[in-house]
Structure formats: C-alpha cells, structure tokens
C-alpha cells in the first residue's frame, strides 16, 4: 500500500502522465471530433468507427479517460507537494545554517577578500559564524525563495486544473440574437434580454472594425420587482450584468417580415436569416434563407436587395424563390407577404463561469513558480578562514551546476588579479 502511494506521488508516474496527456491532446487534434458513427465509418472503416466511439476518441477532450488521467495528474501533484513540504520547510530554514552546508560544487582556495568575490557574484552580505573547529565562517545565501519554485508551480497547476474543470462543470452559457428593439426571453432562465441598439463601425472603405450592442438584461425572478441592468458589449470588450458576462459574438442579416390582407397589416416580425415563421394560424411557414445585398440593379444603377426564402407546409418543403425589395410573395393569396428593410442582427453570448478567476489565479501562480524555479535559483557561497589568514571559498547551487562553478571560479580569479 505504501509502495502504491509512493508510486502515485512519484516523478516517474508524473513523467508518464505528462507524455500520455501530450499524446492524447495531439491525437485529439488530428482525429476529427464530434462526428457520428456513419461519418467515421465513411472516413475510415466500420471497425475503426466502432473503436473510436467505444474509446470516446470522438470527444477526446471531454472523455472519461482524459478526465481520469487529469485526476491522476492532480493527485500526483498534490501528493508530490504534500510529501515534499516538510523537506522544503527544513531546507529553506537550514539554507544559511553552517551545520547543513552539504557538499560544495566548487571550491577555490587562497582567496584574500571573500567579500569582493561575493560582490562580483552579486550575492547578499555574508553572515559570520564560527564552525565546530573554531574557524571563522561566512555564509551568503541568495534566492531562498527559489527552493519553492517547483512547489509553487505545481500548486498553480493544481488550481488551474481545478478552476478549469469546475468551470466546465458549472458554467452557464446561452446565446441570444435579435435586432434593436427586440426583447428575448433567455431559454431555461429567468432572464430576458433587450437589444437596445446595434452599431457597426466601419473604416472609409467599408471594412467593419467593431460591432457594438447596447442591451438591457432583466431579472424576472420576482414578478413584482423586475430588476434591470444595462450593458454594452463589443468584440474584445464584454459587458456584464447580473454576474453574467455578455459577449458580442457575431452578426448576420435580418429583414422585416409583413403580412397584409386587403391592404391592412395583419402580421409583422423581424426575421433573422435561418429563422422560420408561421403565417398567422395557418400550416404555412416561411423561412428567410439569405439577404442578397446586390440582387438586382435599379434604373439609376444602385443595388436592389433581394430576400431568398423557403416555404414549408406542415414542415414539408414546398418551394423557394427570391423576392426583390419592394416586391411581394404571391403564393399565399389572399395574404400578401413581403420582406423589406434589410438589417443586421446581433448575436450575444451570455456566460457565467464562477471559476474562471480560480483558473486565472492558478495560471499566474504557475507563472510565478516557473519564475522562481528558473530565475531565482538558490545559491550558497561560503568562505572559511584558513590558518594562514587566507580564505577558501565554496559554492553550491543545485540547479546551476558547472555554470555556477565557473562563475565562482571566474569571480575569484578576477578578485585575485
């Protein structure tokens, strides 16, 4: 049992997990994700398709086995950090202790001025001690915090994974689209969203540089006291209301839809491309398929838009055509149906992820850990006064190895010369 725990917290296991996770991610990026059995069978073979689905390779990044591997990685990190904590505390406490200097990686004898060597190495001021043999000993320690680099990095990764997984499990995400003036209930929630305005900013040549939607979110949970919060969402600048972040996701074409009978308007709506509407209480449905900005040319040379539509009867396809601006669709007589006023709709994404801050904190802690591990590596330089009055300088740096040894030798040489 003890052996198992040791293995689960070991670095071999960590290395294995990291490699398998890297392979899983690489595989998931090559294999098309989210297809159906028939689609995989058409791409590969029926046997392969069966295997793909059985192993959940169709959704690698959310598969049970990637989740299990990630769970193992978290357990591994946690165990590793817990097991190493007492040792780390001891090591950082003992870093400047003359009784725990350990074996040096470099030794230079006959130094006259050890403080000058320390200055060259940009070490902090040395603390003087007397060793067991009564000799004077000076110890300088730089970057004690560096001992904690890997530990902090591992902690950050744990928090990052935790924040990400919890976020995936609990996040709420909705999309709403519409044109200015519309109020839409957000399905499955007690919120409604009103699109107050939608603007496209363009450069002189017509290229769109920004989309901005002004909106109001209503909290309908209390019928007697409907709460409202205004927000503005544009690309790269999400708005926020009632704990939701509101993103300007995309845009598309829409048009005004009118039904008249005997010259009187009997039905009106704004249809976004792809939307379908039933004609009053009849089994007839009309779907707007596209708004064609340059459908035709007017006598004065200006463009005349057209509206591509499809007609369904009881959900069965009946026909399709294009209605030019100013025209009407005659298939529904005595009703006169027409599209007009081409416009843009806005697509807003609402999202609530309470754990994204935890993931961000995890990321920043990981970064801090990496910085400590790589750029604040602990170094110790100590000097012992010999009987002849000269000093022997020793240095150790667990991560610096030969490079640090070279630096100490160089510094000592420069001071001597």
């Amino acid at each position: 049992m003890k052996k198992l725990w040791k293995f689960l917290g070991s670095m071999q296991f960590a290395i294995g997990l990291l490699v398998v996770l890297a392979l899983a991610c690489a595989g998931g990026s090559f294999l098309p994700q989210g297809l159906r059995y028939e689609e995989y069978a058409a791409l590969y073979s029926e046997r392969t398709a069966g295997l793909i689905l059985a192993l959940r390779l169709d959704d690698v990044f959310h598969s049970w086995w990637v989740l299990v591997l990630t769970g193992f990685l978290c357990g591994n990190l946690l165990l590793c950090n817990l097991l190493r904590l007492p040792q780390l505390l001891r090591r950082s406490r003992q870093a400047g202790d003359p009784a725990h200097l350990g074996a040096p990686t470099v030794t230079v004898g006959g130094v006259q001025d050890p403080d000058a060597v320390l200055t060259r190495l940009r070490m902090p001021k040395a603390v003087e001690h007397t060793d067991a043999e009564g000799r004077t000993l000076r110890i300088a320690v730089k970057h004690r915090a560096g001992l904690w680099g890997a530990w902090v990095c591992h902690l950050g990764i744990l928090l990052l994974i935790l924040g990400f997984v919890l976020g995936q499990m609990t996040k709420e995400e909705y999309t709403v689209y519409g044109v200015p003036g519309q109020v839409k209930q957000i399905e499955g929630t007690e919120y409604a969203l009103k699109i107050r305005d939608f603007q496209l900013q363009r450069e002189a040549d017509g290229f769109v540089t920004q989309y901005t939607t002004a909106l109001t979110l209503y909290d309908l949970s209390n019928e007697d006291d409907v709460l409202a919060q205004d927000a503005t969402a544009s690309v790269n600048h999400p708005g926020s209301a009632f704990g939701f972040k509101l993103y300007q996701n995309s845009t598309g074409d829409a048009a005004h839809f009118t039904v008249r009978r005997d010259g009187e308007t009997v039905q009106e709506a704004v249809l976004c491309v792809g939307e379908q509407i039933s004609l009053l209480n009849t089994p007839l449905q009309v779907q707007l398929r596209a708004v064609l900005a340059d459908h035709d040319k007017a006598a004065n040379g200006s463009s005349v838009p057209g509206y591509a539509y499809q007609i369904y009867i009881d959900d069965s396809f009946y026909g399709m055509d294009v209605q030019p601006e100013g025209g009407t669709i005659q298939d529904f007589l005595p009703y006169e149906v027409s599209f007009s006023e081409p416009q843009s709709y806005t697509l807003i994404q609402l999202k609530r992820d309470r754990f994204s801050r935890l993931a961000l904190a995890g990321g920043l802690i990981t970064l801090l850990g990496l910085f400590l591990a790589f750029y604040c590596q602990t170094r110790r330089v100590w000097a012992i006064r010999e009987a002849d009055g000269g000093w022997t300088v020793f240095g150790s740096s667990p991560k610096g190895g030969a490079l640090f040894a070279e630096q100490v030798r160089e510094a000592a040489n420069q001071v001597q010369s």
Binding site: C25, S29, F30, F61, H237, L364
Partner: protein
C-alpha cells in the same frame, strides 16, 4: 506610409541576404575550422538582426499597428526572435557553433515569410486588442528560445560522436555544460510560452467568450508545454538527464514548428489568421 512599407520590403530582402551570408560563414567556420570565420558570421548575423529590427519597426509604423498580425509578420518575427535569442546565447556562453545550427533555421523561417503575402490588410475586430502584442511578442521569444534549445539538443547528440578533436573540444562545451545551457534556453522558452498561453487565454475569453476551446493551436501549444515540462522532469531524474532530455528538446521544437506552421495548414481553427 507606402514609402515606409516599400523601404521595409527592401530591408527585408537585404536581411535575407545577410542571413544567407551568415549561414555560409558559420558553415565555413566549422568546416575550415578558422575562428575568424565564426566571428565574421556572428558579425553578419548581428548586422542582419539590426536591419531586421529596423524592417519590423518600419512595417509597424507603415501599417499603423504592431507588425504581428498575419502569417508574414509572424514568420518574420519568429525568425527575428530566433536570431535574437541565438545571438544572446552565442555571446553569453561564447559559443558560436550555436549559430552554425541556428542560422539555417532562421533562413528557413525568413524564407517561409518571403512566401507569404506582404500586403497590409485591415484588422478584423477580434485582432484589435492590446493583448495581441503581449500574446505574440512572448510567443516570439518562447519560440526563439525553443529553437536554441533544439539546436543545443542536436549539438549534444552530435557531441557524443565527436571525440578528441581539438576544434570541437575548444568550441563545444563538455556535455554537462551543454546540458545546462540547453536547460537555460528551455527555462526562458517555457516561462515565455506560459506567458503566451495565459495572455492568449485572457484574450480569447474577451474576444470569444471562452478562455480555452481546444482549438488546434491552443491544443498544440499545450502539447508543446507538456513536452517541455517532461523535459524538465527528465533532467531531474538522474538516468534520463542528458541524452533523453536532449531528444525531448528537439521533439519539443518539432512541436513548436507544428504549432506554428502545421496547425495553420493542416488543422484550421479559430487561429486561421495567424
């Protein structure tokens, strides 16, 4: 503005010539084994870097934005990053052989840039973010550092075959030191790659409403990150230090190149403009 962009074009082709010359000199340095050739190669590379920096600045002013937004700009910046980091390592560790291996990669990258369209186009709204500068510039340093790690990994693997040759012994450090230099470059790369991923996630969250979407570029940057994390742990385990770690440093850079070129051409996703 057009004048500045034209001048940038001239500088760009001059830079290609200089990098080509540096590659030739570095090659002669290790074949003819004359130190002066190594020094001349490094001097040409420095001149190339200065001109390259000027070209990027001209493009930035000419386009009125950071020159880091399309395939051409990123490829040329990637070459610039590798050139800069390799020169820093050559200077810091007095190790011009790095240039012999790095210069051809720089030449390939700038050649790839030359094959891309140099046209300055208006930016789509998602790219108009101040995070873009942080995200891409940190990626350039990360990729440049990983390029140097791969070069050092290769030198490490080749060093094993070179025995008792005065020139090599003088110009290529012993295995332990080589491993440490490679480690330094991975450290720089991994720190910056982590920065790249975090700034990218923050930006993605603002632009697309999701900080991580398993888009192929994101996925491959994670693969790269995992490979270098493995490298770090391999180095700590005694038996795997050195050779195995050097192989991982090379594999890691193959992942970097795939993240950069392969993902764009083979696995289109949200990053299709980069």
């Amino acid at each position: 503005m057009t004048n500045l962009l034209n001048l940038e074009g001239i500088f760009f082709y001059a830079v290609i010539c200089l990098y080509f010359a540096a590659t030739v000199f570095y090659f002669l340095f290790v074949t003819v084994k004359k130190e002066a050739l190594g020094k001349a190669a490094a001097a040409i590379q420095i001149l190339g870097l200065v001109l390259h920096t000027a070209a990027l600045i001209l493009r930035g002013i000419g386009a009125g934005r950071l020159p880091l937004t399309n395939q051409y700009e990123f490829a040329t910046s990637f070459a610039w990053g590798l050139c800069l980091v390799s020169l820093v390592f050559i200077w810091r560790f007095k190790f011009p052989v790095i240039g012999t291996f790095a210069a051809p990669i720089i030449l390939l990258l700038i050649g790839y840039a030359a094959m891309q369209s140099r046209e300055v186009k208006a930016l789509m709204p998602a790219l108009r973010s101040s995070w873009l500068g942080f995200h891409v510039s940190t990626a350039i340093i990360a990729y440049g550092s990983f390029g140097v790690s791969a070069v050092l990994g290769l030198i490490f693997l080749l060093r094993e075959r070179m025995k008792n040759q005065g020139f090599w012994d003088k110009h290529i450090p012993a295995r332990e030191k080589l491993d440490l230099i490679s480690y330094r470059s991975v450290c720089l790369g991994l720190l910056f790659l982590t920065f790249t991923i975090i700034t990218g996630a923050i930006w993605a969250e603002q632009a697309w409403g999701s900080y991580w979407s398993w888009d192929p570029k994101e996925t491959w940057s994670l693969v790269t990150w995992l490979i270098y994390a493995t490298y770090l742990h391999l180095r700590i385990r005694r038996g795997w230090k050195g050779r195995t770690a050097a192989i991982f440093a090379v594999v890691g850079f193959v992942c970097v190149l795939f993240t950069y070129v392969g993902v764009n051409t083979l696995l289109p996703g949200l990053h299709s403009y980069a």
